[in-house]
Every structure is written in C-alpha cells, then in structure tokens.
C-alpha cells in the first residue's frame, strides 16, 4: 500500500510532464465520454420508461386494428369505467381521453410554417394534474404545480381557454391573455378561437398545448348544423384513452373486461400498459437504437482506446531510457507496468468524470433535460449513474488503450538500452 501511494506521486509527476499532450488526450476522452453519456442517457431512459411497473400502472386503450387509432368519442364513458358491468368488476382509479388536434394560426395554407403550428391534446382539463405524465407527480407545494393548477382552473371556467408550452408560446410570439384563431389541419374546415390561460411548466411539455374536449365536441356539432352532415372525423375523434389501475392484476382484469365487452368490438379496442405501448411504438426505431447501443457506443470506446494508446505509446517511446534507468534502480517490470497504466488511468478517470459530470450538470440544470423528439416521449434527464458510467468508461478505455504501451515499457531490456559493447 505504501509503495502504491509512493508510485502514485510518480504517476502524477509523469502525467504533467507534457501538459499539451495530456490535455489533448484528456479532451479526446471528454468528447468521447460525452457521446457515450448521451447514448447511455437515451438508452437508460428508454429502458426505464419501457420497464413494466408493478403498481399504479397507466394503461393505454387504442383502436386494435388501425394506426393511427381513431375511436368514436362515445367510447370514453365505458372505457373510463374499464367496461365494468357489475359491482364486482374492476374499475380504473382514473382516466384521461386524448384527441390530437393539429392547427395553424395562419388561415392561408401557403403561408403556414412550423412556428405557426400548434399540436394540442384535446382532453378533460381536470385530468391535466392527475393523469399527464410528470405533471401528475408535481409536488402541490411547488410553484410549477401552483401555476399549472391556476391555469387549469381558468381552463375549466373558460371553454375557449388553452394552455401552451412555454417554448411554443414564445415561437408563436404570444403571451398569457392573448387571443388567437386556430385553423385545423386534421379536422378539415374546423377553426377555433382561443384565449391563452396559462402555460405548462418548463420541460417535457414545452412544445405541447391542451384545450377542452367539450370545445372540440361543440365545434363538431356546429359543423353538422352548418353543413347538414356530420364532420368526417365526428365519429373518429377519440385517439386514445389513458386509464390508471393500482396493480398488474387489476390491469389484467380491466384488459379482459374491455376485450370481452361487445360495445367495444366495432371498432375493437386493445389495452396495454403505457410502457408496453411505448415499447411497441419504439419498435419502429429498433434498428436506430440497436445501432446506438451496439455500434455507436462501442465505436466511441474503440476510438477513445486508440487515442489513448497512441498518446501513451508516444510517451513510452520517448521514455524508454527512463524505464531502463528505473529498472537499474531496482524497479520491477510489474511496477513499471503499473506506473504506465496508472498514468493512463489517471487521465481517463479525471477526464471521464469531468465529462460525465459536466454533461449531467449542463443537460439537467442548463437545458432542463435532453430533448428526444420522437412521439410524446419526455425530455430525458441524464441519470446520476451516467457519472459513474462515464468515469468507468474513461478508466476502462484508458486501461485498454494503455495495455500494449505499458507492456512495451515494462519489457524494456536494460542491457539493450545501455549496451554499447565497449
């Protein structure tokens, strides 16, 4: 132990012998650990949200045979009860219905651009705080909760109210209290007037909006009155229903009740857990995620190992005489091996830790999460474990990259280095 500590000082001295080379090696490590940390963050978050919970599960009820799911709105009442018929049937503890409404502030199609668009969840306003992912976990004492609760309250009182994500509101160049007209893109010939009553907390719902379900229903009714016929989407205006159940057994029972209920047979409904639903949704990105996990991350590690191997090799070549001198002084080959490995390990650990910690701090506290713009997936926070993974990644690849140079250093033959036959 004493010898190890004494050698550690030598490691530090040698690490700073060529500060520029050490800095460049460290920067290479920082960059590659950054990429690996980001990949790890995405994969870890996807793993987490597709991992089945055992309690307090959220279920998704969608159309069984068609994507996108388009159910009649009349399904909501029955699905909210889990198709329960008798007192003994299992009922969900909460529910939320969603219709997706895409519209633009520009009436003229040719002048519509991305910034003028709004994507809205059309839903029951009171469910914003109880059923929407992450919002249902806000602490009632937090300012985010209080602000959102106030916005929801205004939404309940104002049929034409709308809650906007902060980033979307900025892009629309609007503020709370402003009014605007929204021309629908998916609900043809429907245009709605809104008043902004509040915003979502910063983060996952930055680009989202929500307005009241009964406002859309009224618009569809008005369409029928005006045109003398039902809107083409009038009976297809329910995209999905969220249900909350306490246990996996409750999920199985509710899923069976809905599957066996004749009123949900045309069109048929399927029920799955939210994590399973997201997992199925991500199937489309399977190759991309496989590539990130098994190609990109290993490629980064291999590149990092090569960068370090190159740097340490140069250093070892320059110091062959020094290693020979150390052997003359009594250093054993394994001690020289440890010395070289230690130098690489030091750079790898410090750079890996710095990179992962800086990524953690910047993304979680600076950006408010890593945006992952696929479907309705949330922004991803860098997990604390990424700091450990990044540090180990830096250390592991440094060790890997320094193995051959270290072996070459400890194999230096003193008699060959100093032997001029004289």
């Amino acid at each position: 132990m004493g010898l190890t500590l004494r050698l550690a000082w030598l490691v530090l001295d040698n690490t700073f012998r060529n500060p520029l080379r050490t800095l460049l090696t460290a920067l290479g490590t920082v960059a590659l650990v950054l990429v690996v940390t980001l990949v790890y963050t995405v994969l870890d978050n996807l793993d987490r949200i597709t991992t089945e919970k055992s309690a307090n599960l959220k279920l998704i009820a969608t159309e069984k045979w068609q994507i996108p799911s388009q159910l009649p709105y009349r399904y909501v009442a029955g699905l909210a009860q889990g198709a329960a018929k008798s007192e003994t049937d299992t009922r969900p503890t909460d529910y939320m219905s969603w219709a997706f409404f895409l519209g633009s502030l520009e009436a003229d199609q040719s002048s519509r651009d991305f910034n003028s668009f709004i994507f809205a969840f059309v839903m029951e306003p009171e469910k914003v705080l109880t059923m929407m992912d992450e919002l249902d976990e806000l602490s009632p004492d937090s300012s985010d909760y209080k602000n959102l609760a106030a916005a929801v309250e205004k939404l309940k009182q104002n049929k034409q109210g709308i809650i906007l994500g902060q980033s979307r509101m900025k892009k629309l160049n609007k503020k709370v209290g402003d009014r605007f007209k929204l021309y629908s893109r998916n609900y043809k010939d429907i245009s709605l007037e809104f008043e902004i009553v509040g915003t979502f907390p910063q983060g996952r719902y930055d680009e989202s909006t929500t307005f009241r379900r009964d406002y859309l229903n009224s618009a569809l009714d008005q369409y029928q009155r005006d045109k003398g016929k039902a809107h083409p989407l009038a009976d297809k205006s329910l995209n999905l229903v969220w249900l909350r159940v306490p246990t996996r057994d409750a999920f199985n029972e509710v899923a069976n009740q809905i599957a066996e209920a004749p009123e949900f047979s045309a069109p048929a409904v399927k029920v799955e857990t939210a994590s399973s639903g997201i997992g199925n949704f991500l199937e489309g990105y399977r190759d991309l995620l496989w590539g990130a996990r098994f190609l990109l991350a290993p490629a980064c590690m291999a590149t990092l190992a090569l960068v370090i191997a190159n740097s340490i090799s140069i250093s070892v070549r320059e110091r062959q005489q020094e290693f020979a001198v150390m052997k003359v002084l009594g250093f054993q080959p394994y001690q020289i091996l440890l010395l070289v490995l230690g130098e690489a390990l030091f750079v790898g650990v410090v750079a890996g830790f710095f990179s992962a910690t800086a990524t953690y701090a910047f993304i979680n506290f600076g950006l408010g999460g890593l945006p992952f713009k696929i479907g309705f997936l949330p922004t991803f926070d860098v997990p604390v474990s990424a700091i450990l993974v990044g540090t180990f990644m830096g250390a592991g690849t440094a060790l890997l990259g320094s193995l051959i140079p270290a072996w070459s250093a400890c194999s230096v033959k003193v008699s060959e280095i100093f032997s001029r036959v004289t």
């Binding site: 004494r6 001295d13 700073f16 001198v325 052997k327 003193v414 008699s415 032997s419 036959v421 004289t422």
Partner: protein
C-alpha cells in the same frame, strides 16, 4: 576461484555472447577477476572490448552465458528477475555517463527514487536524501529540476542517487564522459572521496586515462579478455 572474505566482486570464468542475426558474437571470453572491498577499479579498453558488458554483469543488469558473478557473497547470476531488482536497489549504486535523471522530478525526488522501493518512512527517506545531497555538495540545489542544473551538477545528483541506499558497490559507466575537464575532475575527486571516506567499492568504465589514473587499479580489456593490469604506475601485462 577461491573467495576471500575481503572480495566484494568475484567474476569467475564468465563468458558472454550475443546473437547478431545468424552470427554469434563473443563479447567476454572466460574472464575472471576479483575486486576487493573498498577498491576503486577502472576498466579500460577499446570500443567493443566488453567493458560495459562486464559492468552490466557485475551490476546484475545482464546474465552471463556461462560462469558466475558473485557480489559480496551473493551469486547474483542465480537470482530471479524480481529478487535481482531488489538486490540491485540495496547493493548497487549505478552512475551513468549521461546522468539519466528523470526530467520531471526535482534533484531531491530523483535521489529519493530508489528509496521508494524500500520499506522506509518519509522522514527516513528525507534524512537519507539530504545526507546524500550533502555528500555531493548539492543541498542548495535540491529543488531544482535536472534542466536547471549544469552537467557536473546533474552528475553529482546521479552520484547522490547511487549513494542514497548506502550500497557497498558503485558502478560507473564513463561518469566523466559527458563533462568538461573541470567538472570531470570534481566528479573523480568525489568518487575517490567516496572510496576513501565511506569505503565504497567502485568499478568504473572509462576511456579517459586521466580518470583511470585516479583509480587504485586499472584493468585493460581487449576482445573480451583482460590484457593488462595497472596498479598506480606499475603495469603487469598479459593478465588473463
């Protein structure tokens, strides 16, 4: 060869050969010699005569092809690599022609380097290092790095590093070869002082007759054999 209790080094019928491609090069040929405790021995000879090879064998840096090298009663050719390394730390001080100090370490830490391998406390190490630097008269330069020292000063640090473990035997490979005459004279005076006041046994390879003249005895090698032996001013030719 019968060992005497006063012999520090016994080289007994030692041969050393290398392979150079398909050719076998015989560097030392059945060479024998004794170095008594406290002697200052100089090895001279033309390039390729085997001086440095002999020095490396005595210092345990290489192994003979045949024969035996014994230092202070220890047949070092039989020691394993690991034991030989530790043995070198405790028993041999090595002085190089080009000093070979670690450039990133101060003079103090260069001298301390071999002590890191020994079970000593920091205080014991400090005492030893300061004593060694004091002997070579470099106490005031202990925090300087090699690049901040002159050649003569660097060589004195090298000698302090060789001394610091208090070895019985100091081997020096052309210690004055890279120095001007004034610095060389200082180093030779230092080696003589080590021999006379600390009773160190010194084996020195040199090309310089003036340096060899400071030794108690000079052996001349040619083609791997001892061909001449000089005690002070006396020459005994035909020594094998």
């Amino acid at each position: 060869m019968v060992a005497s209790p006063t012999d520090c080094v016994i080289v007994d019928h030692v041969a050393k050969s290398f392979r150079r491609g398909s050719e076998e090069v015989h560097v030392l040929d059945e060479l024998s010699l004794r170095v008594p405790e406290g002697e200052f021995l100089a090895l001279m000879g033309p390039s390729g005569s085997g001086k440095t090879t002999l020095l490396n064998l005595i210092a345990g840096l290489d192994r003979p092809t045949s024969g035996e090298v014994t230092v202070r009663g220890e047949p070092i050719s039989r020691l394993s690599e690991g034991k030989l390394a530790l043995w070198r730390t405790r028993n041999i001080g090595f002085v190089f022609q080009f000093y070979h100090l670690l450039p990133v370490l101060s003079a103090y830490r260069n001298v301390e380097l071999p002590l890191l391998l020994l079970p000593m406390t920091a205080a014991q190490r400090r005492q030893q290092v300061e004593m060694a630097l004091n002997i070579v008269n470099l106490s005031d330069r202990m925090h300087h790095r090699p690049g901040q020292l002159s050649g003569g000063q660097q060589q004195r640090v090298g000698i302090a590093r060789a001394l610091v473990t208090d070895p019985a035997l100091i081997v020096a490979d052309e210690p004055t070869g890279d120095l001007d005459s004034k610095a060389a004279e200082e180093i030779l005076a230092l080696l003589v002082a080590l021999k006379s006041s600390l009773n160190k046994t010194i084996v020195m390879v040199t090309h310089d007759p003036k340096a060899a003249a400071r030794a108690d005895r000079t052996l001349h090698l040619e083609k791997g054999k001892l061909v001449d032996e000089v005690y002070g001013a006396h020459t005994f030719s035909g020594v094998h």
